[in-house]
Structures are given as structure tokens and as C-alpha cells.
Amino acid sequence: MAIELSINGQAHSLDVEPDMPLLWAIRDVAGLTGTKYSCGKALCGSCTVHVDGQPMRSCVVPVSSAAGREVTTIEGLSAEGDHPVQVAWRELNVPQCGYCQSGQIMSAVALLERNPKPSDEDIDQAMSGNICRCGTYTRIRAAIHKAAGADS
């Protein structure tokens, strides 16, 4: 069965079972491995992508429900890796192991798109679905403020 969807502006026709979570369609079938598995139960946020601009945990979204929609992954956030969030992440050397950071960045971008100048409380609320075992949370907060252009 072919599921038709757009990923990062490119049309894909994926020959997959409709119940396959979008995460595995993106990784194993479309070959985009920037989006990560870490829990499979929408508990950790590593798999966060945007579907029609909304942040979603792709590990629990069936690929069939993304049919006809526009999916944005970390690879599609910017052509040159220079989205302000990505730039801020590098300026503050946010990542340690880096594994959760695709999901962190996608969640942060979604936050800033709906709330351009979030408070610390806004950030905590929006970002607490994204786990980081390396403990980069204080730098993530600072980087979001930096990307927002606010004083930290």
C-alpha cells in the first residue's frame, strides 16, 4: 500500500503498512535518520517532527495519518543549518552527546513559532516532553532565549 506524503518539501510515495509509525517510515524507508528513536511511547520527544507545522511525536503517529501532509524533519529545518535555533544551539555549545537534540530543536522551533518571546515557565512547559540524559537543559533554556532575541 502506498502512502503519499511530503517530507521536507519532497513528495514521497512509501510502500508501507498504514500502521507503521511515521518515525520508522522517515528513518528506515525514506532514509532520513536525523529523527531518533528513544522510547517508542511519546515519553521522551527524541522523535519530534512537524506535521503541517505542528510538533508531533512521530513514534506514535501512524504514517497513514500523515498521508497528504507536509512533514518537516530536522534535516528540512534549513538548507544551510542556519535556522536561528540551530545557530543558538551551536553558539552556546548546547549538545553533549547530541542524540536528543534533533527532537529538542524541533520542539524549540515549534515553541518559538507560536510564542516568539517565551518565559522560562513557557519554555519548561513546552520542552518538558523532551528528555536529555546528558543534562543540557540549562543550556537549552538559554539557547531558546538567545534564538528569541531576548536577554537571558
Binding site: V16, E17, M20, P21, W24, R27, D28, V29, G31, T33, G34, T35, K36, Y37, S38, C39, G40, K41, L43, C44, S46, T73, I74, E75, L77, S78, E80, G81, Q86, W89, R90, N93, P95, Q96, C97, G98, Y99, C100, Q101, S102, I105, D120, I123, D124, Q125, M127, S128, G129, N130, I131, C132, R133, C134, G135, T136, Y137, T138, R139, I140, R141
Partner: protein, 740 residues
């Protein structure tokens, strides 16, 4: 600094693994090299002027891929913008690649400096020879050799041909620290661009043509076996290609495959679906009745009764008998899991010539190489372990069981195989940090001052993973925070009580220091309060006057993390200094809002000293809030202060997870918890408003950085909670006291 990928293995994947940081520095329009020379295994000079530096240690977020080249490039006098970083295969031609125990810098600083220095001397000798001048008249400076007297100079690339005829010295003189250009500087992380763009490659990102995805159902109880299984349902799932029974578990487990049934499919989802359709009849085996509540009681009883003597100073029994009063308590900490964000994963492929390539998130590629060679019955020179970036390690990925699984399945199927562990696999089938019970009893004089301490520690030993007869804490484990008790007790006795392991025991970031620091630092805080003394003042009283401790003086065996005590002493003066620093940083003694408290703890581990202060409070719902953390670290000479700071920030969060949440329980031999709902870890919403870090200025030899930040965090929090509420907690996690 550019980075390129593999040395060897010219497969399709090599293209994706080449992480060319086009956005980072590098001269534009540089021509490809046509020749190169390797003065040693860590450095390769190319005739286009680029210098390859080999990183032989695994990157798991500690920043070794940045700090290692900082050291080599500094001694080499190489231009940072003309360095390419190569990740080494597992190969015994390098120094130890076992990236564990916070050893990269403290054990190999001189090896790395020597790699840069001997390469530098080789280039100087090459220039001198080609100019017919003494090498002593030449100097290396920023990617060039100069002969000042004649004004001649040559770039490193130009010297490649001449350098080929030079014999590299074994040893060369190191730069003085005043001449360091890169060492000590907060360089940006090498992999920053890739981390922020999804280009960073981890083990499960490796895709080879024809590769099968494998997911393995393992016995819920450790050491159990498959009695029978029905794979009809699994094979009926679209995408499932095969179902294969894994080799039986071994006792001891070491890093061997521990049985189970593998489902192989054309994609991960089909493998997972197929696996959930398996029907397996298990023999739960020798550990099938392991139940953690009863086991806790057994450990606490053993700790409270008697143990084998491991350290004896003065006469603790007499001190207790003569004491005006005594103080005692039992400290308990449960099994916990490393739970790195990337669960274990490995890809293996057997070539037509029978050689094997593995891509894996391994902390120890040399051991993985030897394991795979043994498993496949081939020479280890035919096993290439390609080390991917690790999505966290914390000790889990030193153990190559998951690599053995992938290699075995690759041989069985004749296809490339990717084995990936689910989160449940990671939580339920790990090498767990040992559950522990510690008994403390102190003798107090009339003023409430402690005159003696008995510490009895009881936990299943890591040695059980290597020796089925191991049933008591090993000296090496007690040395992690028990034997090296730094406090000035006139009478001190350490005992170890026996415990048999029923789960696979391993090591987790800072190992037994986690529970020993919790117990010792918690109990010492209790003694401070018994003495009516401010806890910070009490620590200083018990640590000063400054002295160097040798546990052998008290009859104890002590390996000092592999260092002679002359090089890395147990220096109570350095401990007191970080206590004083963190007290100053946190405003210790200031007036606090109602319901808040400050707690302090200090711990030496892996040859570094860390003191932590936590400010905690209790919110309207009665939940504990960690408002702020301060830490001061003395790690001697450090390489990249921003990476040290980030490790301490991360250790603060990691230690908070241990304090607040981490607990694995068992029933019928099986670990009950399975994912981040039942095994929670700290999230952004619980993160303090600030984690303040101070790195002590020091010329001392480098101490560890990756682990030492962890041990003092949980006791600082527990001590702060006591300060805030008057309630003493002696067991982790605090969730069980209703505080989360």
C-alpha cells in the same frame, strides 16, 4: 577544524559517515593530498597541508573528540583550521580505547602530548635535514618549521617527503604550560554543526544494502532460557524475514549473548511487530525468583550484622563501648539503569572474505574486536569495529553484548544485520548499577563529636558478571568512596558484607561512588547535626588540617584509580578547598526564604574533588524542588573548560535523577520497570534555575571529569531537605518518600 570519517571500509555508508563540516574553518580550495606521512598512529601529515589527528576514544558527550585534538594539535604546533579529525577503528596499536572510568585525559594526557610532540620533532628534523642545518636551530610554530638564522621556513605539507626518511623519536619534550595555545581553552565542540542539523551518525543510523533489522526478545529473568517458542505469528507479519533462536546464556555472562529469540525483518517496525507476536515459553532459571523487596531486607540484615574487615584504624569497638552516645543508620539505594538516550545498537556485516565490519556505539572497541573475533572464530585483524558517535554511554556501552548479537546474526543469516534495543530492552536487560545497603554507627563524645565510625557496605558485586562465585564486594569497588574515607575519625572500621547477584551487575557513571557518597556524606551530615555544628564547618573540621591519606596505613587495599598516591594523593586540603569554594559560591549561611534549605556534600573520585551545594524547598503540594545547584571541581589540569563545565552541569541533572527518581524493582526474576513512565528521569520542568560551576585553578596532574560530578549531588539534596524540614532520608529515590 574539519572532521572526516572512517579509516577503512569503503562501503556506501562511508559517504554518510563523512561528516564534512563545511561551515567550520578550513582554507578554501585546498587540493587533495597525493602523499602523507604518519610519524605515529595518532598523526598523519598530508602534503596538501592538512593534518589528520586520530581520536581513538569514544565520544559520548564528554567532548573527547574536541579536547583530544586540542592536546595533540597544541604540541604539534598545528593550525587548528587545518586539522581533520579521524575516528579510530578498534585497534590495539592505540593506547587503551576503553572510554570508561574518566580516564581519557588523566591516564593518557602524556600519551597524547607525546603524539603531538614526537610528530613535531619529526617535522623539525625533516626541515633541518633538507636545509642541512642542526635541528636545534629550528623551531615549529603554527604549521611551519622555521630556521631563524637563515630566515628559511617550510609548511608542514611541504615537509612530508623529507619526513618520510626521519625516524620518529619514542619520546619528545613537552611544551611548558605557559606556551599552551589550545590546551585550557573553551573551543567549540567539533561535532556541533552535525548535532544541530541531524547529520550526526549513531549506530542505528547505519544502513547497508540488503541489511536486515533485528529485534530480540530476551528472557525476563537474567540467565533464563527458551524452553519452546512458536514463531508462526511473527513470521506472518509483513516484512518479517526470519526468526532465529539466539545462543544460550552463559554463566558468568561477561559480554556474551544472553539468549532469546531474534526476529529479523526489512525494517524496524516489522521486526518489533513480529517480536510482539512471538509466543515463548521461558525457563526463568536460577534467578527466576529474585524479588527486590525481600532482597533489600536481606542486604540490610547483612549490612547490620557483620562483614569482612577491609580497613581498621584505632579500635572502633572500644570507642563505641566508651562512647557517651552513639548514632547509627542504614542507607539504602536501589538498582538503577544507565538509560542513555540512545539504546544499544550495532550493525554487523560479514564480507565475502569472512572478515567482519561492525558499526557500533561502543565505549570499548578493542574489547569488542576481540569478542567478535572469538565469536566468529577469525583473527582480530579481520574484525573492523567502526565507532559511531554514542548517544550517551554512562558505562552501559563498555559492554559489547549487543555487538556480539549483531555479529552472530550477521554470520547466521549471511546478511548485514542491525540489532537495535528498545527502551524496554535497555531498562530490563542491562548491566545494572548494584542495589546496596550500608550500615553506619558512630561513637560520640560528651560534646556530640564523633570519635569513631563503623561503615559496613553490602551489595552484589560487579565481579559476579565475570566470576559466578563472586559473592562479596571487591576491594576495587570499596575503593570507590568507602576505603578512601577522608574524614578525621580517630577510630574507623570498614567492613564488606556478602551478597549474591541475581541481576547482571555493571557500572554506571561513577559506579560505587554513587551509593558510598550518598551514605558517607549523608551520615557525616547527620553527625554534624548531632554535634550541633554547621555542616559546612563540620566538613572542614573533619578534613583539616590538610593531610594526605594512605588507606594502607589502616591495613586497607587501595588502588587509587590506578595512580600512585605520590601523583594523585588523597589530599584533604584540596577537599576542604572545594568545600570552601562552593560554600562561598552558594552564599552558605545566608538567610533563606521559609521552607528552604541548603545542603552540602563533598566527594573525591577518579582523582578529582567535587563539592556540591543544593538549595531545595518544598512546594505547595509537598513536592521537593531543587531550586539551584552549585558545584566546585578540582580536576587538576583541565583541557577544555567549557566541556568540564558542561560535564558538571550534566552531572547535576544526572545526580538529581538518582536522588529523585531512579529505581528498578524486580519480581519473579524480572525487572518491573520498562520505560520513562515507570523509570522517570529529570525533565526540563524540574531543572534548577541555575547550575553554577567553578573549576578550581590547578597545575596538578589531570583528574577525571566525566564522573566525579555525580556522587555529591544526591547527598547534597538530601542534606538540604533535612535543613529545610528536619526530616532525614536515608533511602533513594526520594519519590518513595512522596517528594516527587
Amino acid at each position: 577544524m574539519k572532521q572526516t570519517g572512517l579509516a577503512g571500509g569503503g562501503l556506501v555508508f562511508a559517504l554518510t559517515f563523512t561528516t564534512a563540516c563545511q561551515k567550520q574553518a578550513g582554507p578554501p580550495g585546498i587540493a587533495p593530498a597525493t602523499a602523507s606521512v604518519s610519524p605515529n598512529v595518532y598523526v598523519n601529515i598530508k602534503n596538501n597541508g592538512m593534518v589528520e589527528i586520530v581520536c581513538h576514544r569514544s565520544e559520548m558527550g564528554q567532548g573527547i573528540r574536541t579536547s583530544l585534538p586540542q592536546i595533540i594539535a597544541d604540541e604539534l604546533e598545528a593550525d587548528w583550521d587545518r586539522i581533520e579529525l579521524i575516528q579510530a577503528l578498534g585497534d590495539t596499536k592505540y593506547a587503551s580505547q576503553n572510554t570508561d572510568g574518566s580516564t581519557s585525559i588523566r591516564n593518557q594526557f602524556d600519551i597524547l602530548r607525546n603524539a603531538g610532540a614526537t610528530a613535531r620533532e619529526t617535522l623539525i628534523a625533516a626541515a633541518a635535514a633538507s636545509w642541512g642545518v642542526p635541528a636545534t636551530e629550528c623551531v615549529a610554530r603554527k604549521h611551519e618549521v622555521h630556521h631563524e638564522a637563515s630566515g628559511r621556513s617550510a609548511g608542514y605539507g611541504e615537509l612530508v617527503e623529507a619526513a618520510t626518511d626521519i625516524e620518529t623519536p619514542e619520546q619528545a619534550e613537552f611544551k611548558g604550560r605557559d606556551d599552551w595555545q589550545y590546551i585550557g581553552k573553551p573551543f567549540d565542540t567539533i561535532d556541533g554543526f552535525d548535532f544541530s542539523t541531524g547529520k550526526a551518525v549513531y549506530a542505528a543510523d547505519v544502513m547497508l544494502p540488503g541489511m536486515l533489522y533485528a529485534s530480540i526478545e530476551r528472557c525476563p529473568a537474567f540467565g533464563g532460557t527458551v524452553k519452546a517458542f512458536d514463531d508462526a505469528g511473527a513470521r506472518a507479519v509483513a516484512g518479517v524475514v526470519d526468526v532465529i533462536k539466539m545462543p544460550e546464556p552463559t554463566n558468568p555472562p561477561v559480554f556474551n549473548i544472553q539468549g532469546g529469540v531474534a526476529v529479523l525483518a526489512t525494517n524496524t517496525w516489522s521486526a518489533l511487530k513480529g517480536r510482539s507476536a512471538l509466543e515463548i515459553d521461558w525457563d526463568r532459571g536460577r534467578n527466576g525468583e529474585h524479588e527486590s523487596v525481600a532482597y533489600r531486607k536481606a542486604l540490610e540484615d547483612a549490612a547490620g550484622t557483620s562483614g569482612e574487615l577491609r580497613l581498621d584504624r584505632g579500635d572502633v569497638d572500644a570507642a563505641i563501648a566508651d562512647a557517651a552516645s552513639t548514632h547509627e543508620g542504614v542507607y539504602y539505594a536501589p538498582y538503577i539503569a544507565q538509560a542513555p538516550m540512545e539504546p544499544p545498537a550495532a550493525v554487523a556485516q560479514i564480507g565475502e572474505d569472512g572478515s567482519c565490519d561492525v558499526w557500533a556505539c561502543t565505549q570499548d572497541p578493542q574489547t569488542a574486536q576481540a569478542n567478535v573475533a572469538g565469536l566468529l572464530g577469525i583473527d582480530k585483524t579481520n574484525v573492523r569495529i567502526h565507532v559511531t558517535l554514542l548517544g550517551g554511554g554512562f558505562g552501559r556501552k563498555s559492554k559489547c553484548d549487543f555487538i556480539n548479537e549483531a555479529a552472530w546474526l550477521a554470520k547466521e543469516t549471511g546478511k548485514p544485520v542491525q540489532v537495535s534495543w528498545t527502551r524496554e530492552d535497555d531498562i530490563r536487560h542491562g548491566y545494572f548499577h548494584a542495589v546496596s545497603a550500608q550500615y553506619f554507627k558512630a561513637s560520640l563524645d560528651a560534646d556530640g563529636r564523633a570519635t569513631g565510625l563503623l561503615h559496613r557496605s553490602c551489595f552484589p558485586s560487579i565481579m559476579s558478571t565475570f566470576n559466578p562465585a563472586a559473592a562479596s564486594p571487591a576491594p576495587m569497588e570499596l575503593e570507590l568512596g568507602a576505603t578512601d574515607n577522608p574524614y578525621g575519625f580517630e577510630n574507623l572500621r570498614l567492613e564488606a558484607a556478602n551478597a549474591t547477584a541475581h541481576l547482571r551487575i555493571g557500572w554506571l557513571r561513577s559506579v560505587c561512588n554513587v551509593f558510598h557518597a550518598f551514605g558517607v556524606s549523608g551520615f557525616v551530615d547527620e553527625l554534624a547535626h548531632r554535634a550541633g555544628t554547621d555542616p559546612k564547618d563540620y566538613l572542614l573540621q573533619m578534613l583539616l588540617p590538610a593531610r594526605k591519606i594512605n588507606p594502607a596505613d589502616d591495613g586497607a587495599q587501595y588502588g587509587n584509580y590506578g595512580h600512585p598516591l605520590e601523583v594523585h594523593p588523597i589530599d584533604t586540603g584540596r577537599m576542604a578547598a572545594v568545600v570552601e569554594k562552593v560554600a562561598e559560591m552558594s552564599g552558605w549561611g545566608r538567610e533563606l526564604p521559609d521552607g528552604r534549605g541548603l545542603g552540602i556534600a563533598v566527594h573525591r573520585s577518579f582523582a578529582s574533588y567535587v563539592a556540591a551545594v543544593a538549595e531545595v524547598g518544598v512546594d505547595a503540594r509537598g513536592k521537593l524542588v531543587v531550586h539551584e545547584l552549585w558545584t566546585a571541581i578540582d580536576a587538576g589540569t583541565t583541557i577544555n573548560p567549557d566541556r568540564v563545565k558542561s560535564q558538571m552541569e550534566g552531572a547535576g541533572i544526572f545526580g538529581m535523577s538518582i536522588a529523585l527518581h531512579g529505581e528498578l524493582t524486580t519480581k519473579d526474576g524480572a525487572v518491573v520497570e520498562g520505560n520513562f513512565d515507570s523509570y522517570p528521569v529529570v525533565r526540563m520542568s524540574e531543572t534548577p534555575s541555575a547550575i553554577n560551576v567553578h573549576i578550581m585553578d590547578s597545575d596538578a596532574p589531570p583528574g577525571g571529569v566525566g564522573e566525579p560530578g555525580v556522587p555529591p549531588v544526591a547527598p547534597a539534596i538530601v542534606n538540604a531537605y533535612f535543613a529545610a524540614t528536619g526530616k532525614r532520608i536515608r533511602e533513594l529515590p526520594l519519590r518513595n518518600a512522596g517528594l516527587t
